[in-house]
Symmetry: none
Subunit: 505 residues, 2 copies
Amino acid sequence: MPSRPNSMEVWMESSKDEEEEEEEEEEEEASSWIQNNDIVVENKEDIEMGSLSTFKSILESESNDWYIANPTTSAAMHSHLFLQPLDSYSTSCSPTPSSSVFNNNLDFDSSIHNLQVNNNYFLPPTSSIDTIPNNPPLVESFDFGCESGYLESVFNKGSWIFSDFGDNNNNNQFGTNNGGFSAFGFGDVNSFLFNRSNNMILKPLDNFDSIGAQPTLFQKRAALRNNNIGGNNSNGSYLNSSVDDVNNDNNNNNNNNSEVNEMKSSSSGDDSIDGSNPDYDSDEQLLENGSSSIDQNGGSSLNANGDLNGKKKGIPAKNLMAERRRRKKLNDRLYLLRSVVPKISKMDRASILGDAIEYLKELLQDVNELQNEVESTSSTPTTALHPLSPTSPGLSNCIKEELCTNAFASPLSSPTTQPATVEVRLREGGAVNIHMFCARRPDLLLPTMRAMDNLGLDIQQAVISCFNGFSLDIFQAEQNKEGQELNPDQIKAVLLESSGFNGMI
Amino acid sequence: MPSRPNSMEVWMESSKDEEEEEEEEEEEEASSWIQNNDIVVENKEDIEMGSLSTFKSILESESNDWYIANPTTSAAMHSHLFLQPLDSYSTSCSPTPSSSVFNNNLDFDSSIHNLQVNNNYFLPPTSSIDTIPNNPPLVESFDFGCESGYLESVFNKGSWIFSDFGDNNNNNQFGTNNGGFSAFGFGDVNSFLFNRSNNMILKPLDNFDSIGAQPTLFQKRAALRNNNIGGNNSNGSYLNSSVDDVNNDNNNNNNNNSEVNEMKSSSSGDDSIDGSNPDYDSDEQLLENGSSSIDQNGGSSLNANGDLNGKKKGIPAKNLMAERRRRKKLNDRLYLLRSVVPKISKMDRASILGDAIEYLKELLQDVNELQNEVESTSSTPTTALHPLSPTSPGLSNCIKEELCTNAFASPLSSPTTQPATVEVRLREGGAVNIHMFCARRPDLLLPTMRAMDNLGLDIQQAVISCFNGFSLDIFQAEQNKEGQELNPDQIKAVLLESSGFNGMI
DNA sequence: GATTACACGTGAAGC
DNA sequence: TGCTTCACGTGTAAT
């Protein structure tokens, strides 16, 4: 695995047999981390939700400044952990090995091993297949028009990592998971970490939930925190501590490891509940090292380390970590779910669930109708009734239509409106992140691939969707032609040209 | 509304316009109540999750004794509320008016206004249409064999009320929502209410989450509590207070009403967030009335009423209620989701979400396949498949094959073990579906694309992932070279060759 | 200013 | 026994 500190990388562990090893799901989520220019976040669990949401929020936000925000913050944390991804990777084998969008990609268990993320890459969860195109405002708010049915699915994996469905409308506490934020290179990450009222120190590990999809929130908060806290109150300490910590329990990969030094060492070691949760550890370490900057915890007396309050000794600390993992896992799942559901009215949890339910119902109905259709195949195809949907008049047609039109296609992506969008980010070490979106055309994929090849860009991690618009997201491409050292504009121009959109944007 | 206490009846309110009125969901859930032989519970929100889970646990439990446990506990609470359901009912019109199982019934928005529950009515969520019949142990444990796609769906509404996905394997704190328990006529309801460690007094209102699906847990706990606490420590007070309270703010229907008497009166009045939450109120009342039986709250100093700790005054109390509502709502949704998903491996939240995601993916795939099938209607009339039911013998060859094998789905295939998997389906009109999965290699994408191009296959809908293995799913490709009419094996061979895996599978 | 939503850290409970 | 899950009450934040 590339240990390039600047690039964001995520390792995911694929899920085991869900049925039997459902409990192992945690593991799935566990070992992965994001490495960003500014900050390195480890342990997928730590980041997933917040990050993605962060992304979204970022994306939603009009300005692209965010990534510029705190370039200085970068800290190669847990660099030793970089190896882990490999491990995870090696172990990775999703239960649904076929990584098809509908299977693997959406497979929450499937792990993404390497994911370098760039800001604009993550999309709002418009599902690839949706019967109901009207994807919520949320999506619309996004700049890039890519419907990304595909991306989403891919990002399902990704979303595990970067999700925060927090609340579209609502706020989102940043969850303070440093991982999430740091991954995005926000200098204010630290501020996030410690600003979060109650649990200050420990926070980074878990949810960083709320970075909700809403753009403004993120920026607002980021700006706010930057302003308020200035650089970062605890940044150095955190990063450093985390780094050190990571080194300590790196081999462990277990989230429990570093929880509280005093007590954590007990069992977690090889539990393998998480493939590797460096961040976790780091966070936990952070916990210890981190100053109890803000202890205004509602009532919970922050005895995270167990002894502070002298309550049941260290028990809480472990529990704390477990709870964080649990929360993160839930958030991840929730966001993944969200990413699968095309029509998300709001980003809050309840809405996500509700929309998912609704969507499920719709799908079931569609399936039912289709079944009927199929059953009544030759005879009266059109008349094939759709018992389930009273409203649906010409069902088969409708459904088919739906499927054809929207299926796999996000409602909002009006390819027409956005001729082509190409964004290129250069990362250290020749890594390139590319996001491209344009109307789908028959001969777009291959030329684009050729263009990439011609550019000497070796695609290592990518998601390409030809649904309802051509979407190409390359999270990691390396310039194998060392000589030329491309610049983003070049790449962009070439891609636009290859797609026939040159000059369009 | 039939007030027959013994019969189970459900009124559903259809969801409003989800998009716009998403926030109204709360309302939807709000006004409904359960009337049981023993106890009448009002306010759907109060009950949903806990009750159902309770049911499940009950059902799952081998013994039927539970309902016998505390027959005396019954209290016709909030009887006045009975009228409400009608109101809600009148307003009901689901966005998906189709009353099919898959639509209305599953519509989470629909609110149950009146729900008279009987013990055996609730089923584990085996969905009617499921691609994967193996409904989890949970279901199996149930006595009644009805898969009840329908029932479930109905109960989805019902489940709003009675859901607790708590934890199949785990425990479940009873959540103490009086509504839930009381509905079941458990005398120990009270004990539940106050036994719950931290927040003792307030508890009854919210989740009563955990009655998890597990049978033993419920009984165990019930028994435990009965034994420990004897009859009920606060039972009388609770019920009474709740009843009284209900009467007080009955018209209000707002959960906020009775929160803490001191401060709550402010806004909640007509908020209509919940159609009616008598229980809520009652609970809140309970809060006040209830003795602070157990205040071992971790750190939260139980200043629920706001003044106790002297912290931010009464603010917490309101927040507390809101949070309870929120939790309940989430739990409800979650359980509803669960009820829609046929294959639930475990009852814990994460599993529910994961299973839902998985199921969604499956449905999407099914829809896709069905669509293809429909499109190719005339050609293979006999094949009318039931993609959904894998067991269905007649399955269209392709679909069945796909489904059965791994197409897009097989959990077990680990990339490493399976060097390359290519599946090709020919559809009518030259459409081709391809699924390819193999270990990721640097130069795999472009050659594959080239191969596709060389084959004359124009990719129209595809998802390509280079994450953790190369995944290529082409949902629709058309043979632009009309002359040659490829056969699947050819395509497969070419793709394998292009990927360097030829002959490997 | 009020409501809503969220993450948090806890104690409890079931494995 | 430890681990996991859960609900809970909080503080915080956005609306």
